[in-house]
């Protein structure tokens, strides 16, 4: 179902390594001393309260925010040594805001994900179009090609943005609250698509979400951020503890097991 012919030849198991990074923004330290690594096929979920620095970490990973201290290596080389096109071929982003005032069609939008593959000028190839249309189909947007982006609902636009990220065929997906505007069916579709891409193409993903149960269900590892620092990281069962969640979110929770998936289940006690 996925097209991954371009994705197989990778040598390093650790695609992305983050060593002791700090990121400043407007003379303020937003995140401090963050270290983790992302392996092929792995899904890491970033959890944390609003303002904990999750988006900042994500933005620093592809070089769109400069790190003040520490080092990020992508496939063994410093991320700073790559050109924008090279990074865009390796890392795709699903960001929070994607609104345009121009009449851009859904297909054109998804094709823009192929920018880093083609010439800086010129037209997309037949292959680009095939990939874009496949990704639209995957995201349940079969009839949408000619619809305009500024006429879609927030949830539909969110799926188009995922389709564009998939169309890049990047080995690493960075998703910033990809399910924020989605209904229940499309939330699960979004996560299944990411999971499936990771399993079939050895893609890795880092996902920011506020949904603890989605995190428990889909994450291989969870990183819990609080006040710009890592509070806990590891498998969902290790991170999602009453103590950690009380510390970060200041709420009491009930933890048990989801009878279907046998994964941890979190219920907030109000």
């Amino acid at each position: 179902m996925f097209i991954c012919e371009n994705l197989w030849f990778q040598n390093s198991l650790k695609m992305l390594e983050v060593r002791n990074i700090s990121v400043n923004y407007a003379a303020r330290t937003i995140v401090e001393d963050i270290s983790f690594s992302l392996a092929r096929g792995q899904i890491i979920v970033l959890l944390g309260a609003n303002g904990a620095g999750k988006t900042t970490v994500l933005k620093s990973l592809n070089g769109s925010l400069p790190v003040a201290k520490g080092e990020i290596t992508l496939d063994g080389d410093d991320v700073k040594s790559y050109s924008r096109r090279e990074i865009a071929r390796k890392i795709a982003v699903v960001a929070q805001e994607n609104e345009t005032k121009f009449p851009v069609s859904v297909l054109e939008f998804v094709l823009s994900g192929r920018f880093a593959h083609g010439a800086a000028f010129g037209w997309e190839t037949e292959n680009d179009r095939r990939i874009a249309l496949d990704c639209l189909r995957l995201c349940d947007l079969r009839e949408y090609e000619t619809r305009l982006m500024n006429e879609l609902s927030g949830g539909e636009r969110q799926r188009v943005v995922l389709a564009r990220a998939l169309a890049t065929e990047a080995q690493i997906l960075l998703l910033d609250e990809p399910t924020a505007n989605l209904d229940l069916a499309h939330q699960s579709l979004m996560f299944r698509l990411v999971r499936e891409r990771c399993e079939t193409c050895n893609t890795a993903a880092i996902v920011i979400t506020h949904d603890l149960n989605l995190a428990a269900e889909f994450a291989d590892r969870i990183i819990l951020l609080g006040g710009g620092k890592i509070i806990a990281k590891g498998a969902p069962k290790e991170v999602l503890t009453e103590e950690n969640l009380a510390k970060v979110f200041n709420v009491r929770v009930l933890l048990d097991e989801n009878p279907f998936s046998k994964k941890i289940r979190v219920t907030t006690i109000y």
Binding site: R84, R85, A92, V93, F102, V104, S112, G118, R164
Partner: protein, 327 residues
Amino acid sequence: MNSDQKTIENKFSRSWRLGVLLVFALLIALMFAAALGSESLSFFELSDAETTILYDIRLPRVLLGACVGASLAVAGASLQSLLRNPLAEPYLLGVSNGAALGTMLAFVFFSQLEFARPVCAIAGAGLATIAVYQMAKSRAGMNVERLVLSGVIVTTFLSSLIVLLTSVLDAAKLRSFTFWLLGDLSQATKNGFYLTFVCAAFGTIILSSQARALNLMMIGERDAFDFGVETNKVRLVVFTTASALVGVSVAASGSVGYVGLIVPHLIRLSVGSDNRLVIPFSAISGAIFVVLADTVARIAIAPRELPVGAITALIGAPMFIYLLRKN
């Protein structure tokens, strides 16, 4: 899959046909404009006086109008994409006024040097562009209203400097300057046309080469950066090229307003917002628009003339409001 491909192919073949159609329309508009005027020309056998009128007066003016129109439309289309704002326009952002002030300063201080005028105009346009951009930029990004307001501030500030400068100039020069400030092609020279033509041609090619990157910038600057666009480089190229296009146009013909707003809008309505089509098509349509507007300016109250900028604003302003309300 088959029907999918068909829709794409139809889109491009339709665009291709529109391109041919526009080129023909431009040729007809040029002939039409050259034939019409306060002095009517006989179509087949030209007398000596008529030859002079045609080749030395009317043709340079008509062709200059075409180049100015193309330059302004292309500059508008690319600035709109770069600034993510369909209302961005050289005239409304104050870029034209920057160029006008530069031209006037050159006229006052280096009046004997012909090339000083376009050079100073480009510098003025560039400085005005940077000023508007810096003012409109905020930590939260750049919204439509902020950009338009910054444009108003820069425009009015530069206007007051221009007024100050005209009050220093003597009365005879003043009259031609007020006319020129509104956008006026009557001072067209062959040299002016050559320079504007070269700039319009190269500018359109350079900006078309950035069209694919601009398609991503149009969605969002951070977004474009994430997907592989060297946003700083594209911004530099577009600002420089657009400033040069506006500068040279204004030095030759003053501030012809609204061309960069109306023309790209109409093109987007017919072919969508892909800059690889919008930029070249805007060039041809901008040329047609200004050539026709100048023809009207020449013959409406013949033998007296109107400034072409008055005609474009007369068409442009109401159309702007209409488009704004429709959106």
